[in-house]
């Protein structure tokens, strides 16, 4: 594919796309891991109790009624550690778990304790302890900026999947984006002229467009232009759409000069009615997520051993079933960790229990682990981000939630 040789040439030689502050002063230390880190955000609030079920909790079956997973029956949950079992829609994750490459942290929440999706997502993505109107940057971007100089990750910035950049990846560190598309690329000549106009008339647009063109260059080299790869297959709530997003992200972060850190969002997890954990909506969503994990595993190939996926959601859902065979906005939920770099094969939980007195405000799973501690633990062990930077810059005012240790193998 040499459709646009001139643009590639320009960008490869004189591009100077990323500020020099992000260029590595020296190569990574010998033997250091060239890690990949991907955050997948499940927008809408994942129902943790029908995803990783505490079958060992005496209150579980009664509380969950028609949404309860079961150890037996026609569609049994996949056993994990004797107490918890996994929704059968996630066979890939179950396999990774058995291979020591998948872990679950249960009863997790951000510091947010209200029930607005949008504030909750802002807290999750901004990394701030509480909602702030119009938060400007996200913790994953600030993490890139905090990675010690010399690591390749800082030089290559972040990757946002989709037509827009989510808050989690907004900020000073460079970010590129990718989405399946339906139009042929504009000519190189036009692109360079528009870029030139922006450089003189609107530097902010120049910077954004330059990065957009940079992604196209990498995507083209990784064989992602033309053919099937680029045709949208479905929304980010559909099984093929989730798989495709993961496939595209895996290709881009696998490139030697591509970003090391990526963020994806999947939608549709707000299961207020007819939740269908085994044969309906939630089951399909989990199949899509499981497929995405599989795409990362196969797409990253030999790099999978140095990869960690962190799968998060803004909050959990009510412990009880609501009036419409679904669940309403709740509090604690779970986080999945997957990848060859993860010390897996375990469910990490300080289980709060499901008895009436144990529920948060009498209705939700009570949080016992701060989500920020998990993210901080991964950033510390994958990239060597210092504790002070994690407590202050990446997750401001988070010293009370210190990095969780031993998440990385």
């Amino acid at each position: 594919m040499l459709a646009h040789p001139s643009r590639r040439a320009v960008l490869a030689t004189g591009g100077a796309l990323f500020a020099s502050a992000y260029l590595p002063a020296f190569a990574a230390a010998p033997g250091a891991r060239d890690a990949r880190f991907v955050v997948i955000n499940l927008r809408g609030g994942l129902d943790a109790l029908s995803t990783v079920a505490p079958l060992g909790d005496p209150r579980y079956a009664e509380l969950r009624g028609p949404l309860a997973l079961e150890a037996g029956g026609a569609n049994p949950a996949l056993p994990l550690d004797g107490f918890f079992a996994l929704n059968p829609s996630m066979p890939t994750f179950a396999r990774l778990y058995r291979a020591g490459q998948g872990a679950i942290v249960h009863a997790v929440a951000t510091p947010y304790r209200e029930r607005s999706h949008f504030d909750a997502q802002d807290v999750l993505e901004s990394g701030l302890p509480r909602p702030v109107s119009n938060a400007r940057d996200g913790w994953l971007n600030r993490a890139i900026a905090a990675i010690p100089a010399g690591a390749r990750v800082a030089a290559r910035g972040g990757l946002a999947i989709g037509a827009t950049t989510p808050l989690i990846l907004r900020g000073p560190a460079p970010v590129i984006g990718w989405a399946p598309q339906i139009l042929p690329n504009a000519s190189d000549d036009l692109a360079m002229r528009v870029l030139d106009l922006y450089r003189h008339a609107d530097p902010a647009l120049a910077q954004a467009l330059a990065r957009g063109l940079e992604t196209e260059r990498i995507a083209s080299r990784m064989g992602m232009q033309g053919g099937d790869m680029n045709k949208p297959r479905g929304g980010l709530e559909s099984i093929p759409g989730m798989r495709q997003a993961a496939q595209g992200a895996a290709r881009l972060i696998a490139a030697d000069d591509g970003p090391r850190i990526a963020a994806l969002s999947f939608t549709g997890w707000d299961t207020h009615a007819n939740e269908g954990p085994l044969d309906g909506r939630l089951s399909n969503l989990l199949k899509g997520l499981d497929g995405a994990i599989e795409e990362f595993e196969s797409g990253l190939g030999p790099l999978w051993k140095d990869t960690a996926l962190l799968i998060v959601t803004e909050f959990g859902r009510t412990a009880r079933v609501n009036g419409t065979i679904g669940t309403d906005h709740g509090t604690a939920t779970l986080a999945f960790l997957a990848g060859g770099a993860v010390k897996g094969g375990r469910v990490i939980a300080d289980w709060p229990g499901l008895a009436d007195g144990q529920l948060h405000e009498g209705r939700d799973l009570r949080p016992t682990t701060d989500l920020r501690a998990i993210a901080k633990g991964l950033l510390a062990e994958l990239f060597g981000v210092a504790a002070a930077a994690l407590d202050r810059d990446v997750f401001p005012d988070s010293a009370a939630a210190p990095a969780m240790k031993g998440l990385i193998a």
Partner: protein, 467 residues
């Protein structure tokens, strides 16, 4: 500021962009008058066109097709039934258009056509703003796909120049909203139906009314208020396919599912009283000072700046309070303020605004509008299909992203290529941006290697991207 620039600003900040006829010169003669003339035309927001049907009629078409598919599948028992879980593999060839697809496209094309032809387009901008404030998503189900367009015409447009309380009342009882936020499934636990069946309350609609439609998230309500409003809203539903309670697809208050008894929301008791109970609560929410502030902030953020100037927000909020939510008066206050005109053009046009502005400048009579729908989706703003009930973002940072700029470039190239017998792009620049054009943009267009490239450069210029 020179009058030419003010005229350009009237058409871009408040309107949908110049059409490239003589409109920029006309706007320069009386920038405020152009906008006020639109606000003074009571019927301007309404939309009716051949092929558009009422939401209840659209729903009946859908019900009939579902019944037909069911009969088909019963005749051929080996065929998979329709349903959300069915058919994971896409069919190899394009299926024939479904009735819901046809209804959706007719609605979408009517909206695009209206936007393309509107004079300044200020009222259409207001329609899009309010439609996004009260967002529903056509992607949720077949029912939403056929009712999302009618929802805008029936619940939003009649009140854009009217009262906020009337818009709120029309929105919350519209079948599209009731279906989108699951209220048609919500059942009062102590209602006759709630006692018989093991189904009950769903908080979704009540929470989003408080958080997104009226008070805003800091507006002073608590979980107990959400539940109280949810209880009051039980019974607000639409009639099903069988038509037991009335016309299929139309709003109905179902006493059988309504939670009996008084409710207390935000310290105020709403006595039992059927549909009037929640209507009273909505009326109080509509006139709440927090609602005035929330709405004013969103309007200023949409039209003027991501960081809304506080004094301008206060002006609009005060007008909202003083006029009991007269939206024409609030819109006039925006036009009359100096701050709304003097703020620099920092806002990036949303994909909808960019595509409509580009289309107004380059459209050809009778042209297929289908590509615009596809490009809206590609640029992250599929028509009437936001990812969540808070609608599409109104912050420039959400649109000024690498991928979005790169995709806009591809769209601009495509738009410019399709135009044959193109006039000199320097003339188009004069007739659309005029004196507001920067020296750099003039030069870039003058140096273009072809007319097509010159037009694409104009479409991508900061003057066309920002407002």
């Amino acid at each position: 500021m020179a009058n030419m620039t003010l005229g350009y600003r009237a058409l871009t900040r408040f309107g949908l962009g110049p059409r490239g006829d003589d409109d920029i010169a006309a706007a320069a003669r009386d920038p405020r008058g152009l906008l006020k003339a639109e606000l003074a035309d009571p019927g301007l927001a309404l939309l009716d066109a051949p092929g558009l049907v009422r939401s209840a009629d659209a729903a009946k078409m859908l019900f009939a097709r579902v019944a037909e598919v069911k009969r088909e599948s019963e005749r051929k028992p080996d065929m998979p039934a329709m349903g959300p879980a069915a058919a994971p593999a896409p069919p190899p060839q394009k299926p024939p258009p479904t009735p819901e697809g046809m209804v959706f496209r007719a609605e979408a094309f009517a909206r695009i056509k209206r936007a393309a032809e509107a004079k300044a387009g200020f009222v259409e901008r207001l329609v899009a703003f309010w439609s996004n404030h009260f967002a529903v998503s056509a992607a949720k189900s077949g029912f939403l796909r056929v009712t999302a367009g009618p929802f805008e015409r029936e619940a939003i447009r009649p009140h854009v120049l009217g009262r906020f309380a009337d818009m709120l009342a029309a929105v919350e009882r519209h079948p599209a909203m009731l279906a989108y936020l699951d209220n048609n499934l919500s059942i009062g636990p102590d209602s006759p139906a709630g006692k018989n069946r093991r189904r009950g309350l769903n908080e979704n609609l009540a929470r989003e009314i408080l958080e997104l439609h009226t008070l805003g998230v800091g507006g002073g309500y608590r979980q107990a208020d959400v539940i109280a409003l949810a209880n009051m809203l039980t019974g607000w539903a639409f009639v099903g396919a069988a038509g037991v309670l009335g016309e299929p697809g139309a709003f109905v208050f179902n006493v059988n599912t309504h939670q009996p008894g008084p409710q207390t929301m935000m310290g105020r008791v709403y006595p039992a009283g059927g549909v009037g109970q929640a209507e009273g609560a909505l009326a109080d929410l509509a006139r709440h000072p927090a609602t005035a502030r929330f709405v004013a902030t969103k309007l200023v953020r949409h039209f003027v700046a991501d960081e809304p100037p506080p004094a301008l927000v206060e002006t609009l909020a005060r007008t909202f309070r003083d006029t009991e939510g007269d939206l024409r008066a609030v819109s006039l206050a925006l036009v009359d303020s100096d701050a709304a005109w003097s703020a620099p053009p920092t806002k990036l046009r949303s994909p909808w605004e960019f595509l409509v502005a580009a289309w107004r400048l380059t459209r050809r009579p009778g042209e297929d509008l289908g590509p615009i729908l596809g490009w809206l989706t590609m640029l992250g703003q599929p028509l009437w299909q936001p990812a969540a009930p808070n609608g599409f973002s109104d912050l420039s940072a959400d649109w000024a992203t690498p991928e979005n700029l790169k995709l806009r470039l591809d769209v601009a190239a495509r738009l410019a290529e399709r135009v044959r017998d193109l006039p000199d792009p320097r003339d188009i620049l004069e007739r659309s941006v005029g004196a507001a054009a920067s020296e750099q943009t003039r030069m870039a267009i003058a140096r273009a290697e072809s007319r097509q490239q010159g037009l694409a450069l104009l479409l991508m210029s900061p003057e066309m991207q920002r407002r």
